[in-house]
């Protein structure tokens, strides 16, 4: 029995994330919170994000949540999702804003000039739908999930870590890009586990029992 805090800084609907975790971790307490004290008292933390990264950074700071996020990322099992993954990096091309800088690297937009499929048709941006996630390192959060399992993505930007050792998964869309990163107590993913049917629920379940 543990408490997981889903950090709510006003960007996007967190109901789906909360419901999916409640579905797999029925004995645990799930709180959606904007209160730094609540984040710091939780046993594990989920850091989601939707929309544009500049707005997300602004809203995070407007609620005074940055120190709590940084603190949680130092020692608690920490799951970043979508923009919540991107914000862990140093800088984003989206709006040319700095991120939290926990990981070195840049958040980049899919390169327009390279978005062409093998048959010559255009690859659309946002990258929207179910794509294969290729695991690049063994990790407890991949337990019970096939290499190449499909997860639901919807995004126009992706993280480009400076340190290749933190890459936990890649996905191909015109280019191979980083779909997941992992380091110590942090696991962060671009795709949406709460919308990825069985594979997504399995990953969330793995996160809830993870002891980094």
């Amino acid at each position: 029995m543990s408490k997981v805090a889903i950090i709510d800084y006003g960007m996007g609907n967190l109901r789906s994330v909360a419901k999916a975790i409640e579905h797999v971790a029925t004995a645990d307490t799930v709180v959606v919170t904007a209160d730094p004290a609540e984040v710091l008292s939780a046993d594990r933390v989920v850091f989601p994000g939707q929309g544009a990264m500049p707005d997300c950074m602004r809203e995070l700071d407007a609620r005074g949540l940055r120190p709590a996020v940084l603190e949680a990322a130092r020692n608690k099992p920490f799951l970043g999702i979508c923009i919540g993954q991107q914000m862990l990096f140093e800088h984003s091309e989206e709006g040319n804003v700095p991120g939290l800088g926990i990981f070195k690297g840049e958040v980049r937009r899919f390169p327009a000039e390279r978005m062409v499929a093998a048959d010559g048709s255009r690859l659309k941006v946002p990258h929207m739908g179910w794509n294969e996630v290729w695991q690049k390192q063994a990790h407890p959060l991949w337990a019970g999930i096939d290499d190449g399992a499909r997860f639901y993505y919807v995004h126009s930007y992706y993280v480009d870590p400076a340190d290749p050792a933190i890459v936990a998964a890649t996905t191909d869309y015109a280019i191979p890009f980083t779909g997941a990163v992992a380091q110590a107590n942090i696991f962060a993913i671009q795709f949406h586990p709460e919308k990825s049917a069985h594979a997504g629920l399995q990953l969330l379940s793995n996160f809830m029992s993870w002891k980094p």
Binding site: G12, N13, R15, S16, K19, A20, H23, Q50, G51, A52, A112, M115, S121, R122, L123, K124, V125, P126, H127, M128, G129, W130, N131, E132, R150, Y152, Y153, V154, H155, S156, D172, Y173, E194, K195, S196, A197, G200, L201
Partner: protein, 252 residues
């Protein structure tokens, strides 16, 4: 590789799934949660609800439906029908929808697309375009189920809504809708080639091959169908197996 998506569409009226027979008689087809769960189990990549509730008094019912479905079905959920304002969009997202589809309101007030995508992000905003062919290689946007002309060229309108911040286009051929003769592939391809956002083909599916044609010839990123799945003719899984056999990348 990114999979092409298959999206069952459910018409919902006053909280129940309904099936139209020849557009006149509406028959009760079950509880939205149950139907959505069944499609999820068959491997649907997303589910779309179209709220066709006639009375505005009953409009809030869809919010409860969305809440219940989102608690139990963990794939993306799009909701459309009667969405007019940014507040409507927010209410649906807060209830648990992942995307909201805007149709007539976008034509009447294109700014709502810009305002909504600015507030909640492009990835949540689908613009539904209902089009009819008016000349060879030319299609016009219609509203109100194909009754009202708008004077807008469908391809130009698609480009316009993309520039306003739509994240996806749900494209329905009003010539084909309900005919079971297959998608208007010319329209689908013309719009898909004209924009850089994903296009969902809709209207006219009568066989599984039609779904595959929408992808291979229409270059759609996703295909939407209603009756072919509702009346038990085919399952989503059968559709995916056929598409895979025809060389299309799907999630199976």
């Amino acid at each position: 590789m990114l999979a092409k998506r298959i999206i069952p569409c459910l018409d919902v009226s006053a909280g129940r799934v309904v099936k139209g027979i020849n557009f006149v008689e509406l028959r009760d087809a079950g509880d939205p949660v149950e139907v959505a769960r069944r499609y999820d189990e068959q491997g649907a990549d997303e589910i779309t609800f179209l709220d066709i509730t006639a009375s505005s008094d009953d409009r809030n019912i869809i919010l409860h439906v969305v809440e219940q479905v989102a608690e139990q079905v963990f794939i993306p959920l799009t909701v459309g029908g009667g969405v007019r304002t940014v507040d409507d969009v927010r209410r649906l997202l807060n209830a648990g929808a992942d995307k909201v589809s805007i149709n007539t309101a976008a034509v009447n007030n294109p700014q709502v697309v810009a305002d909504a995508s600015g507030k909640v992000g492009s990835q949540c905003i689908v613009v539904a375009i209902d089009a009819k062919q008016v000349a060879p290689g030319k299609w016009e946007v219609f509203t109100h189920g194909g009754r009202n002309r708008t004077g807008l060229d469908a391809i130009e309108w698609a480009r316009k809504v993309e520039s306003l911040g739509a994240g996806e286009i749900l494209l329905t051929s009003m010539d084909r809708d309900g005919t079971k003769n297959g998608f208007d592939l010319g329209l689908t391809r013309a719009v898909s080639d004209a924009v850089s956002i994903p296009v969902i083909a809709s209207g006219g599916v009568g066989s599984l091959d039609h779904l595959a044609d929408g992808v291979t010839q229409g270059r759609a990123d996703a295909v939407l169908a209603a009756s072919i799945f509702h009346f038990g003719e085919h399952t989503v899984r059968e559709a995916k197996e056929l598409m895979r056999a025809r060389g299309i990348e799907v999630r199976l």
